[in-house]
């Protein structure tokens, strides 16, 4: 069935399928709404931190060390007597920022390289894919640790390490989709009427292939928050006494038998953030996909 497909025509189905799709579509974009709700709530909590808690994140109080969660300290206190709820809230500022900044560079880099590899093929494709193979062969955490070790501990260097290694996923995603899309009739038609490659990519190819990358980026934000946490665990990320969630989990590990709340609550914060981001990603996937129901 050869049809002239265009990227912007929504596929209108008739009869039963349309009727069944309507509540389905509404339910799916509900994911987006819930996810956005969670993320916006988290951002607001982070911004309004001083209004939400009477304590300071670095405020030590040796009278109340290692307290179980109670009415005065909803998440308990740590070994320095610092209120954990406060630190989790202030930690949101750090971690949310980390996740977003970390994802931008690999996204853009992967997009550019993947587009070039997929659309133009040939030696560009070979070179890019060989680079992908090499980077991919290293266990991700090892290469990030190695790069951070070279550049020195700290979250800024984590961004560089991530940019150098995480672009491959986006490159591969984009390249795979472009390989399919570039043979479609509307691209051939655009080429025939004399559009330059760059214009074709920008107007026809990109809007069709970028969805999966955006969805993936949402998951990646959560992943990088986890990565920052892992690096803090190894002593290569945020330095104490920063209330970064990963650093808090690490500090809590030493008290695992006596003060479980030190590690559990920051982790829960990460999970909630991850759920929000994942819902946003899923919701975006369904609303952004051109023509899909």
């Amino acid at each position: 069935m050869a049809t002239l497909e265009t990227p912007t025509t929504p596929a209108i189905a008739v009869g039963e399928r349309a009727v069944r799709r309507w509540p389905g579509r509404w339910a799916r974009s509900r994911n987006l709404l819930i996810g956005l709700g969670i993320i916006i709530a988290l951002v607001l909590v982070a911004i309004c931190a001083p209004l939400l808690t009477p304590y300071q994140p670095q405020e030590q109080n040796y009278d109340v060390t290692l307290q179980t969660p109670s009415l005065q300290h909803l998440f308990g206190t740590d070994n320095f007597g610092r209120d954990i709820l406060t630190r989790v809230i202030y930690g949101a500022r750090i971690d949310l920022r980390v996740g977003v900044i970390a994802v931008i560079a690999p996204f853009v880099l992967g997009l550019v390289l993947g587009c070039a590899a997929g659309y133009f093929g040939g030696w560009i494709d070979t070179v890019v894919m060989r680079c992908v193979d090499i980077v991919q062969a290293f266990p991700f955490i090892v290469i990030v640790v190695a790069i951070v070790a070279v550049l020195g501990p700290g979250l800024n260097n984590m961004y560089i390490a991530v940019a150098l290694t995480a672009w491959i996923v986006y490159a591969r995603l984009i390249r795979g989709e472009i390989l399919v899309v570039k043979h479609k009739e509307f691209v051939e038609a655009a080429r025939v009427i004399g559009m330059t490659d760059l214009r074709i990519i920008r107007r026809y190819v990109l809007p069709n292939v970028i969805t999966s990358s955006i969805v993936y980026a949402m998951a990646d934000i959560a992943l990088y928050i986890g990565l920052a946490a892992a690096l803090s665990f190894l002593g290569l990320g945020a330095k104490p006494p920063e209330p970064e969630w990963g650093a808090m989990i690490t500090e809590g590990r030493a008290y695992i038998t006596t003060a479980w709340w030190m590690s559990v609550f920051p982790g829960l914060a990460m999970v909630v953030t991850g759920i929000g981001l994942s819902l946003v990603g899923d919701g975006l996937a369904d609303t952004l996909r051109p023509g899909a129901g």
Partner: protein, 311 residues
């Protein structure tokens, strides 16, 4: 078929070569050198220079690289700067630990992901399906070292069922110590597998050949097991093989969480100690293993699915 394998092996060579290059030069970019790390902050400059000379580290970089390649060609992995014993000896025991974690993880993943994925697909949209999918989505979002810590808190501290850390003595003791770390990683990679399995089974159940099988009058069970599952399990198994790479990365952190004497923990410590030979050898082995496993997975895949072979 032989041609396909030969071609893939040939493609592997420049990649491994590239890895050694990247590794070598990346390591030497790290500020600080092994001698000063070993001798400490109060060492005199002469002592540091002398040790560097002794270790052959004052040669120009390309000379060091050639030495390195020559050693590799004879499968000599060098001597650990920090421990002064052959790297192969140091790594040997540790690799065994790491690989046993990987092995137990694979078994656990298979036991968790495959039954749940199959059930979720066969009972699509049921309570079980939705519960499995929701739980695994949340699980995918949990940082693995946090899950490890949670499991320790719950199973080791509260319930006392498993040891908190360490590797143990003797096969059964090893398995007992490896259970929690392996479970942690298995829980981390199962979600992807469950999702992939579920979707490929659903796809298979929709396919023409299943319709034909049903039309032929086969019992539903034969249709599902003999036709749909047989085809649908292939992509999932391939995915399992391919996720071994990520799995091995996961063991690195978890070896630290559970205090397992594995190659990953050694690697992290060696980076800090600037023990170049150990870092090089360990990373090279990890990377080569990952590439080999990917290659084997691809070959097995092309074996199981003739369409790939002739693509």
């Amino acid at each position: 078929m032989g041609q396909y394998i030969a071609r893939r092996l040939a493609q592997m060579i420049p990649v491994v070569f590239g890895i050694t290059l990247v590794l070598f030069f990346l390591l030497r970019l790290i500020p600080g050198d092994p001698a000063s790390v070993m001798l400490g902050e109060r060492a005199t400059d002469e002592a540091v220079a002398r040790l560097n000379h002794q270790l052959g580290l004052d040669q120009p970089i390309y000379v060091q690289y050639v030495y390195f390649l020559r050693q590799l060609a004879t499968l000599n992995l060098g001597t650990s700067i920090r421990y002064q014993i052959p790297v192969s000896e140091l790594l040997g025991q540790r690799l065994l630990v790491s690989l046993s974690v990987v092995a137990v993880t694979l078994v656990l993943t298979g036991l968790i992901a495959f039954p749940l994925g199959i059930l979720a697909a066969l009972k699509k949209d049921s309570l079980l399906d939705n519960a499995v999918r929701s739980v695994f989505v949340v699980m995918m979002l949990m940082p693995s070292f946090w899950v490890g810590i949670l499991l320790i808190i719950f199973f080791s501290v509260q319930l006392g069922l498993f040891p908190v850390s360490g590797y143990g003595d003797g096969l059964l003791d090893h398995l007992w110590h490896l259970f929690l770390p392996a479970l942690t990683i298995a829980l981390a990679i199962s979600p992807v597998l469950v999702r992939a399995l579920r979707s490929s089974i659903l796809e298979a159940l929709d396919a023409d050949y299943v319709r034909t099988a049903r039309a032929k009058g086969l019992r539903e069970r034969a249709v599902i097991v003999g036709h749909a599952l047989r085809n649908a399990l292939i992509p999932a198994t391939t995915l399992l093989g391919l996720s071994i790479g990520g799995l091995m990365g996961g063991t690195v952190i978890l070896e630290k969480v559970f205090s397992l004497p594995g190659a990953g923990a050694l690697l992290i410590d060696s980076i800090g100690a600037r023990d170049y030979p150990v870092v090089q050898a360990a990373t090279l082995i990890f990377a080569t293993l990952v590439i080999l496993i990917n290659l084997v997975t691809d070959i097995v895949y092309s074996f199981l699915d003739p369409r790939v072979r002739f693509a």
